[in-house]
C-alpha cells in the first residue's frame, strides 16, 4: 500500500477536481475544478519517473542516475494545454456573463428556457393549424 501512496494522493485530487467540475454550477468554479483535475494528472505521470537517489535530468559528470525526463516533457506540454483551455474557458465565462448577466449554470438554463418558451407558442399554433 505504501509504495502506491503517490497514486492514492493523485487519485484523491483527481476525483475531487472532477467532482467540482460536475457538481458545481458556477462557471468559474467549474473551471477551477477542471484545472485541479488536470493538474492532478501531472502527478500520475511525474511520480513514477522519480528514481530514489536520482537527480533532475540535467546531465552533469558528477551524477549517475537521473529521473526520467520524458514524463517531464509530456507534462510541460500538458500544463500549457491546460492553461490554454482555462484561458479560453474564462473568456467564454466573461462573455456569458455579459450576455446573460450571470455565470450560474442553472440560471443560464432557466433563461434559455424562457426564450424557448417565448418562441414556442408561435410554432405550436402553426403546427396545430397544419396537423
Amino acid at each position: 500500500m505504501i509504495e502506491h501512496f503517490s497514486y492514492i494522493v493523485t487519485v484523491f485530487l483527481m476525483v475531487a477536481g472532477l467532482y467540482v467540475v460536475i457538481a458545481r454550477g458556477n462557471l468559474i468554479k467549474k473551471l477551477v475544478g477542471l484545472s485541479i483535475f488536470q493538474t492532478s494528472v501531472y502527478l500520475l505521470y511525474i511520480a513514477p519517473g522519480k528514481l530514489i537517489g536520482g537527480t533532475a535530468p540535467i546531465l552533469a559528470p558528477q551524477y549517475g542516475i537521473y529521473s526520467n525526463p520524458l514524463p517531464h516533457v509530456l507534462i510541460l506540454t500538458a500544463i500549457v494545454v491546460g492553461i490554454a483551455t482555462l484561458a479560453l474557458g474564462l473568456a467564454l465565462a466573461v462573455r456569458i456573463r455579459e450576455v446573460y448577466g450571470t455565470i450560474e449554470e442553472d440560471e443560464i438554463l432557466a433563461l434559455d428556457h424562457q426564450v424557448e418558451a417565448a418562441q414556442e407558442p408561435r410554432g405550436e399554433q402553426r403546427e396545430e393549424k397544419g396537423a
Binding site: V41, T77, A78, T85, L88, L92, E127
Partner: protein, 504 residues
C-alpha cells in the same frame, strides 16, 4: 528529398501554416484565400497519400519520422489504408466547406472577425488531420486539443447567445474527455514505457499485470466516447451544433466526431488488439446497448424538435449509434459497416447542415441576420428554394438508408453483421430505428412541400450558388457512393479484414 516522400508532414503542416498566416494578413479575403488554398492542398495531398498507400502491398504502411528521429524516440507519422481514408474525408470536407463559408458567414459573424474564423477553421482542420495521421499516443492528445480549442471558438462565434453556453459546455465536457484520454495514455505509458502506438501494441502483450491496462482501456473509452458523443455522453452536441455558424456545424458534424471514432478504432483494434477489448471486459455488450439506446432515444427526441438544425443534431447522435454498434459486433462485417457509415453519414450530414445554412440565408429578411430554421418558417419552402429543399430530402434519404443512397450500404452491412451473430432481434432493432429517421426527415418534407407558404413569401428566392454548389456536391456524392462503392466499401472491407485478422 522528393516531394512525395514529404507528403505526410505537409498534410498537417500546410493547414497549420495557414492559420498564423491568416492572423498576420488580417484581411478577410486574404485569410480566406490562404486557408482555402491550404485546405485544397491538403485534399490533394490526402489523395496523393491514398495513391501511395494503394501502391503498397496490402496492409502496407507509410512511416514518416518527424525530425528524423526514429520511433519510438521521435514522433512517427503512420499512414495505412484507414488513416488515408479518414484523411481524404476530413480534408475533402474542409475543401468543400471553405468555399461555402465565405458567403455563409457574411451575415453570421462580424466582418472584423472573419480572418480569425478562417484561422480557426484552418487550425481545426490541422488538428483533426494531425490526430488521424499520427502514430504517437501523446501527439494524439496535443492535436486533439488543437482541434477542440478551435472548435470551441468556432462554435462560440455563433450569433445566438446560446452558442456561448453551448461552447462552454462543450469545453468542459471536451476537456474532461481529453483528460480522461491523457489518464488512459498515462497508464499505458507507465506499463509499456513507450508512446508510439505500434510499439505499444507490440509490448502490451507481454505485460503480466493487466489491471492498469484495463483501467487505461476504460479511461480511453470514456474519454473518446465523450468526444464522439456516444449516448449518454452526447449532451454537449445538440446545442453546439444548433447554435454554431452553419459552416462550422457542417464541418464538425462531418469530421470531428468521425475522427474520434477513428481514434477509438485505432486504440481498440490496433493497440489493444483482440485480447483485451472483446474478451476481458463486457465493453462490447455495454457499447451495444448504449448504441441501441442512442439509435432509439436520440432519434426519438429528434422527431419532436422544433428547430431543424437541432433535429438533425439529435439525428447525429443517433447515427453515431450505428457506427459504434458496428464496432461492438467485433466482426469484419460490423467493422466494415462502421467505417463505411463513418464516411457515408459524414457526407450526408454535412450536406444537410450546409443546405440548412443556405436555407437560413434564404429565409432571412434582406439585410437582416439569418433566423433560426424553425418549422413554422419552413412552410412551403420548396416553392421558394427548390434546390435547397430537394437536396435536404435526398441527403435525408441517405440518413434513412433508402436503397440507392450511401446510407443503404452501411445499413446493409450492419444487418449482415447482426445476422452473422444470429441475433435476429438486433436486425429488427436496426431496421426499426431507421423508420424513426423516416419520421424526422418526413417532418421536413411535409413542411416544405405540402404546406402552404405564409402569404407574401411565395416568390422564388434560392440561395446563392456559392452555398448551393458545395452542398450539392455532397448531396450527389451521397447518391454516388450508394451506387458505386468500390472506393468506400472496397477500402472499408480491406481495413476491416486487416484489423480483425488476428482472430482465430
Amino acid at each position: 528529398m522528393s516531394l512525395s516522400a514529404q507528403l505526410p508532414a505537409l498534410q498537417v503542416v500546410l493547414p497549420l501554416l495557414s492559420a498564423p498566416l491568416a492572423v498576420l494578413l488580417r484581411r478577410g479575403w486574404l485569410a480566406f484565400a490562404v486557408v482555402t488554398a491550404a485546405a485544397w492542398a491538403a485534399f490533394a495531398i490526402a489523395i496523393g497519400l491514398w495513391l501511395q498507400v494503394d501502391a503498397l502491398p496490402s496492409n502496407g504502411v507509410i512511416s514518416y519520422h518527424i525530425g528524423s528521429w526514429a520511433p519510438p524516440w521521435g514522433i512517427e507519422y503512420r499512414i495505412d489504408r484507414l488513416t488515408s481514408f479518414v484523411l481524404v474525408l476530413v480534408s475533402g470536407m474542409a475543401a468543400l466547406v471553405l468555399p461555402y463559408s465565405r458567403a455563409s458567414i457574411a451575415r453570421e459573424i462580424p466582418q472584423e472577425s472573419h480572418y480569425l474564423f478562417y484561422a480557426m477553421l484552418g487550425l481545426c482542420l490541422a488538428g483533426l488531420l494531425g490526430i488521424t495521421i499520427t502514430g504517437d499516443a501523446f501527439n494524439v492528445f496535443v492535436f486533439l486539443e488543437i482541434s477542440s480549442l478551435s472548435a470551441y471558438v468556432l462554435i462560440a462565434l455563433g450569433r445566438d447567445r446560446r452558442a456561448l453556453a453551448a461552447s462552454y459546455r462543450y469545453l468542459i465536457m471536451g476537456s474532461i474527455g481529453a483528460t480522461f484520454i491523457v489518464i488512459g495514455i498515462g497508464f499505458l505509458y507507465l506499463m509499456t514505457g513507450t508512446l508510439n502506438l505500434a510499439d505499444m501494441a507490440a509490448r502490451i502483450g507481454a505485460i503480466e499485470s493487466s489491471r492498469p491496462v484495463l483501467a487505461a482501456l476504460a479511461f480511453l473509452t470514456v474519454g473518446i466516447s465523450l468526444k464522439l458523443a456516444l449516448f449518454p455522453l452526447h449532451q454537449w452536441l445538440p446545442n453546439a451544433y444548433t447554435y454554431a455558424p452553419s459552416a462550422v456545424t457542417a464541418f464538425l458534424a462531418a469530421t470531428a466526431t468521425k475522427v474520434s471514432v477513428y481514434v477509438l478504432i485505432r486504440f481498440y483494434f490496433s493497440v489493444f488488439g483482440d485480447s483485451l477489448v472483446f474478451h476481458k471486459l463486457p465493453l462490447p455488450q455495454l457499447m451495444l446497448w448504449l448504441s441501441l439506446l442512442a439509435l432509439f432515444a436520440a432519434s426519438f427526441i429528434a422527431i419532436f424538435q422544433d428547430n431543424l438544425k437541432r433535429l438533425f443534431a439529435y439525428s447525429s447522435v443517433g447515427q453515431i449509434g450505428y457506427i459504434t454498434l458496428g464496432l461492438s459486433f467485433d466482426s469484419v462485417n460490423g467493422l466494415t459497416a462502421s467505417i463505411v457509415h463513418l464516411f457515408n453519414h459524414g457526407i450526408a450530414k454535412a450536406a444537410i447542415f450546409l443546405l440548412i445554412g443556405a436555407l437560413v440565408v434564404g429565409i432571412a429578411r434582406p439585410g437582416a441576420a439569418p433566423p433560426a430554421p424553425t418549422f413554422d418558417r419552413l412552410a412551403g419552402l420548396a416553392r421558394r428554394m427548390p434546390l435547397t429543399s430537394f437536396g435536404i430530402v435526398i441527403a435525408g434519404l441517405s440518413l434513412i438508408g433508402v436503397p440507392g443512397t450511401a446510407g443503404f450500404i452501411s445499413k446493409w452491412y450492419l444487418v449482415l453483421a447482426a445476422l452473422e451473430k444470429g441475433q435476429l432481434w438486433l436486425v429488427g432493432a436496426i431496421l426499426l430505428s431507421s423508420l424513426l429517421a423516416v419520421a424526422y426527415v418526413w417532418r421536413f418534407v411535409e413542411a416544405a412541400y405540402f404546406q402552404a407558404p405564409p402569404p407574401g413569401r411565395e416568390l422564388k428566392r434560392e440561395a446563392p450558388l456559392s452555398l448551393l454548389i458545395p452542398a450539392w456536391v455532397l448531396v450527389l456524392a451521397s447518391v454516388w457512393f450508394g451506387l458505386d462503392t468500390s472506393l468506400t466499401l472496397g477500402s472499408a472491407v480491406e481495413v476491416a479484414e486487416g484489423l480483425v485478422r488476428h482472430r482465430p
